[in-house]
């Protein structure tokens, strides 16, 4: 494979972006992305993730702070002069050029030798599994194929950083999984630095080395997928990543960093995460809730309000005195019927205190 990686790190140092006079899209954001990793910017729409991505690309200029790619401060460089390429949500394939011409476009800009351009473009197409399509027009390809052309076009430039702006949002669910795995494979095989924007938390968990969750123009939490899922810092992150039952609770006492927490009739010991005694929130993952038909055992009382069979697992909605709980249970052999009473206990993992 002749396509190499020139992966470089990306550093944001107190970067801000203000549109007009007072619309703050990105507010003094700092983070750093290691070379050769795939980092996802995740968040609801309007949180500033796409603006952040476009500032890495040089399509938007900062209103403050510095952006460093590799060893260079690129803050004032326009897109043309940055060694970064981008895959757009709409793919932005040039409709008047063939697939081959599209892929070769960035190479021809740089006065590369003609044969080299051709062979590199072919390598790029081969990498995304589209060799033999180079004479077609983009409009003659399916959505997934167009997507892959866009990836190939960005890849062949061997950029320091490769950017993806919600690249899968126009694809159907099955294809989305397939293409995201392909993107991940290519990233891993070539050791690329990739910054990936999405609002789909499952996609983010599946593909990333690290995830930066954004909310209202600032970073809400940054960490590995496991960190975010198992130890969300606040209500927002817990709710946004995966499913979580967020219950109000009371911390009765704290000893050596362990908090005694009371949830209804349950008493738990959880890491206090710097919180003090008083009212708090606890995030409970649906698979961490254990249901039991044995009403003699200890636990919270609940009533199965709804049971849904999903092939691989069951989903229950359980009403308790604390409110409704959403529960996932692997046991599909002997599922519980609706309208029966159950006892509820919590497992050790997947239950965390979160700040509000």
């Amino acid at each position: 494979m002749s396509i190499q990686s020139n992966a470089a790190s990306v550093v944001f140092d107190n970067v801000s972006k203000i549109y007009g006079t007072d619309i703050v899209a990105v507010d003094q954001v700092s983070f750093s992305i290691e070379a050769g990793t795939l980092v996802t910017l995740l968040g609801p729409s309007g949180c500033g993730k796409t603006t952040t991505l476009r500032m890495i690309a040089g399509l938007e200029m900062t209103n403050g702070g510095r952006i460093i790619i590799g060893d260079d401060d690129v803050t004032t460089l326009p897109a043309t002069d940055r060694d970064v390429s981008m895959v757009f949500q709409s793919y932005a394939l040039f409709p008047h050029m063939t697939v081959g011409e599209n892929v070769a476009y960035g190479l021809t800009v740089g006065n590369t030798d003609k044969d080299e351009v051709h062979s590199k473009a072919m390598d790029g197409l081969k990498l995304v599994g589209l060799d033999g399509y180079s004479e077609r027009l983009p409009s003659e390809l399916s959505g997934g194929q167009q997507q892959r052309v866009a990836v190939a076009r960005a890849l062949v430039l061997e950029p320091q950083v490769l950017l993806f702006d919600e690249p899968l949002s126009n694809l159907d669910a099955k294809l989305r999984r397939k293409v995201r795995e392909e993107i991940r494979d290519i990233q891993q095989n070539l050791g690329l630095t990739v910054v990936y924007v999405t609002h789909d938390q499952e996609e983010a968990l599946a593909i990333s080395d690290r995830i930066i969750v954004m909310k209202n123009a600032v970073i809400a939490q940054e960490g590995s997928p496991r960190d975010l899922y198992e130890a969300p810092v606040d209500y927002f992150v817990a709710d946004f990543i995966g499913n979580a039952n967020l219950l109000e609770t009371e911390i009765t006492s704290i000893t050596n960093g362990d908090a005694s927490v009371r949830i209804g009739s349950l008493e738990l010991m959880l890491p206090s995460r710097g919180m003090s005694a008083g009212v708090a929130h606890v995030a409970i993952r649906p698979e961490s809730v254990m249901l039991s038909r044995d009403m003699a055992s200890s636990g919270l009382d609940g009533l199965i309000a709804k049971a849904t069979y999903l092939g691989s697992h069951m989903e229950y909605t359980v009403t308790t005195q604390m409110g409704e709980l959403f529960v996932i249970d692997k046991d599909v052999i002997s599922p519980m019927a609706e309208k029966i009473s159950v006892k509820i206990n919590l497992s050790d993992r997947g239950v965390t205190l979160v700040s509000t």
């Binding site: 326009p78 008047h96 476009y105 800009v109």
Partner: protein, 742 residues
């Protein structure tokens, strides 16, 4: 040192040291100066010899400004001194050149104050190659300096484009037009007078409403306004009808339809008027036939409003068609299909989805029709009768017995008021909605067919209109072969022989016919002007649509201004402005080329703006992130996708240059006579046969030019599925002239 800075610096220095500073009498391309006393001859000398030996000492500060940019040597772009040095050099140099050019003229000091303050000074002429290129070098120093300060992401190409366009628009539109508007404020002795101005602007010949109450004609302003609104609405409706017929009806002879509707565009403006006279005039064919049939003599109904209206409708409907077909075809089929799947029938789909998406097209078609009608000069001249309109009134104010420049200026002001109001109302109406319909995502699907209740009326209207047009053109073609129209209908070739006879002498071909001179001049001028117009127009459109910068709206207004100014005014103002230094152009071919460029540039701009607002911006951005700079992006991505707009701009500017009459009539000279002014001369001598014969030839030439352009530019490859798979996937993509203002 920056390469672009170095390049312009070299150009500036070379121009200063080698090229003649002042304008050369024997024409722009004359090279006689090289062998005739150069470099010391005062007529041909470059700037340094003008300073040393020609006594033009006031030129001596210029080299200081030219050498200043060398101080940027070794400095990076980000150094604040770098941009400051370039700005001082550029602004200082350009400012000084303008200052000396406007204060020292052919009679020495230009202003009385200066004469009394200083000693008498030597005279100087208009600027030549040297002066203009050194000015250009200074201009680009400014843009380099501005770009280095990080304006527009520090994009040198875009900043330079804005600088260049602004400079030439100021020089060739604002400067001349301000000269004529100043004259509106002057009385006949050249003194400024508010009284004279107010009495003129409230004159009954402009605002009179006599036609409502009595037999007297209304004021020219009301007449023009009524005519323009009627023409705008009607041509828009007809244009839509033709566009729907061409794209949605499965009509078999689309190509024929296109050819037919292109015909009137390539027709000199007064020809339709002449042909209408041949049909409906007092001794016209139809008039006499109907008269014989029912035994009454029809009156002179054609001369006046009905005649002008008819002629303008015939002339401007194709423009509306060109605008509309681009929009109608550009609408994403998926949007219509979406509507249909939402249970809208074809009629509902058309009225709720297709038609609203055509809004930019409708608005532009109306605006074009309105302004064209306002500015039309040929038809009212031939058919006007006593129906006064503003454009002809301006002409008569200047060439007529009154010779009242002030009145012409006032009338021009009124006319400008109307056209600019229309422009702003149109912007309001379009608002900030998005009309993007071509995205970077390959789009497939079929346009929905016309609903039946539209289909038959459209066939009917388009059919009868086409038939009428064919008759008109048969009259034109036939008229050239007739001895004397209305009196002697025997066939003859004599008009063609007089105009276009060719002999083969011993030195090759002899162009003996009387029309050859003006014919070749017209072709040459039009060929030079067309690509320049299209290029400048599209560049402007790119800057307008894709770049955000301060003064964006003013910039847009400036580039569109010349379109709202009728040719008559442009002609007069060019004479006033360019007859004296610092820019002397009257009597040259260059003034004609410039006039055409700036008269027709708005068409290129509008075509480009329209097409570009349908292109997804992420296409540009993709190109930028792939390492292309904005110039490369413009060339490789934007321009190819704008082929229909390029075609429209090229064809339109070429054809307009060949058919224009109103401005041209002031600017032609013995050496550079244009076809239209030659023809008008023949018409004035009642030599209708030769005039019509010449017109026929012009029409044929322009028709072939249109075909050649179409072939050269080629089709836009969008790769949408075609409803008839046997044909090529990309159908004839039409010129596309609608637009969105956001």
């Amino acid at each position: 040192m920056n390469r672009t800075v170095l390049l312009w610096l070299t150009i500036g220095l070379v121009s200063f040291l080698i090229l003649p500073w002042y304008v050369i009498e024997d024409g722009f391309w004359g090279l006689e100066w090289l062998v005739d006393g150069y470099p010391l001859d005062p007529d041909y000398g470059p700037a340094w010899s003008q300073i040393m030996t020609g006594g033009k000492v006031w030129l001596s500060p210029i080299p200081l400004f030219l050498l200043l940019p060398f101080a940027t040597w070794g400095r990076p772009k980000t150094d604040p001194l770098y941009s400051r040095i370039l700005l001082i050099s550029g602004m200082g140099g350009l400012g000084y050149i303008l200052l000396q050019a406007f204060t020292i003229g052919i009679a020495g000091w230009e202003f009385l104050v200066l004469e009394s303050l200083f000693d008498p000074i030597d005279r100087q002429y208009g600027m030549g190659y040297g002066g203009l290129l050194v000015s250009a070098a200074f201009l680009f120093m400014i843009t380099q300096g501005v770009a280095a300060r990080g304006v527009i992401n520090g994009d040198v190409f875009v900043v330079s484009s804005i600088g260049l366009i602004s400079a030439i628009v100021v020089m060739f539109i604002f400067f001349p037009v301000s000269r004529i508007l100043i004259s509106a404020l002057q009385d006949n002795e050249g003194l400024y007078s508010v009284v004279a101005f107010t009495s003129k602007i409230s004159h009954y010949k402009i605002w009179g409403l006599g036609c409502l109450t009595s037999n007297v004609g209304c004021g020219a302003a009301w007449n023009s306004l009524f005519l323009a609104i009627t023409v705008g609405l009607t041509t828009t409706a007809l244009g839509l009808v033709f566009a729907l017929l061409a794209t949605r009806s499965g009509f078999k002879h689309r190509k024929l339809l296109r050819a037919l509707t292109v015909l009137p565009i390539i027709t000199p403006p007064f020809v339709i008027g002449l042909s209408l006279i041949l049909l409906f005039g007092v001794s016209g064919v139809v008039t006499q036939f109907v008269g014989d049939l029912i035994g009454v003599t029809p009156g002179r109904w054609l001369y006046g409003m009905p005649g002008i209206l008819l002629a303008q409708l015939l002339a401007f409907t194709p423009i509306a068609f060109l605008v509309m077909i681009g929009v109608v075809e550009g609408i994403s089929p998926s949007m219509e299909e979406a509507a249909q799947t939402l249970r809208a029938d074809r009629w509902r789909t058309f009225t709720t989805v297709s038609l609203p998406l055509m809004r930019p097209g409708l608005a532009n078609a109306f605006l074009l029709g309105f302004i064209e009608s306002m500015a039309d000069f040929g038809n009212p001249l031939v058919l006007g009768g006593d129906y006064d309109v503003l454009s002809t009134e301006i002409f008569f104010a200047i060439v007529g017995a009154q010779n009242d420049q002030g009145m012409a200026g006032v009338l021009a002001l009124v006319l400008l008021g109307f056209t600019l109001s229309a422009f702003f109302i149109q912007r309001r109406w379009l608002g900030k909605k998005s009309y993007t319909t071509v995205t970077g995502k390959g789009d497939s699907g079929f346009h929905s067919a016309l609903p039946n209740r539209l289909k038959w009326p459209i066939y009917g209207i388009a059919g009868s209109w086409t038939a009428f047009t064919i008759v008109i053109y048969c009259m034109i073609m036939f008229g050239g072969f007739v001895e004397v129209w209305g009196l002697d209908h025997s066939l003859t070739f004599k008009h063609y022989i007089t105009a276009f006879s060719v002999d083969f002498g011993e030195h090759g071909i002899l162009w003996e016919g009387s029309a050859w001179n003006s014919f070749w001049t017209t072709i040459t001028i039009a060929t030079i002007a067309a690509p320049l117009t299209a290029g400048l127009g599209l560049l402007t459109a790119y800057v307008l649509v894709r770049q955000k910068f301060r003064g964006h709206d003013i910039f847009e207004f400036g580039t569109m201004l010349s379109f709202a100014i009728p040719g008559t005014i442009i002609g007069v103002s060019y004479i006033l402005a360019f007859n004296v230094p610092p820019i002397e152009l009257t009597g040259t071919g260059a003034i004609l080329v410039l006039c055409f460029i700036f008269r027709n540039m708005p068409v290129g701009v509008r075509a480009g703006v329209a097409a570009m607002s349908q292109l997804d911006k992420s296409l540009d951005e993709a190109s930028l992130t792939l390492g292309a700079n904005s110039f490369y992006t413009f060339r490789k991505v934007v321009l190819p996708l704008l082929r229909p707009a390029i075609l429209a701009a090229l064809v339109y500017s070429f054809v307009r240059a060949m058919t224009a009459i109103s401005a041209v009539i002031f600017l032609v000279s013995a050496e550079y006579d244009m076809a239209t002014s030659y023809i008008i001369g023949r018409v004035e001598n009642n030599d209708y046969g030769l005039a019509i014969a010449y017109c026929s030839i012009l029409i044929l030439v322009m028709l072939s030019a249109v075909s050649i352009f179409q072939f050269l530019v080629g089709d836009r490859r969008l790769g949408r599925r075609s409803q008839s798979p046997a044909k090529s996937p990309a159908q004839q993509s039409p010129p596309n002239t609608e637009e969105k203002f956001a």
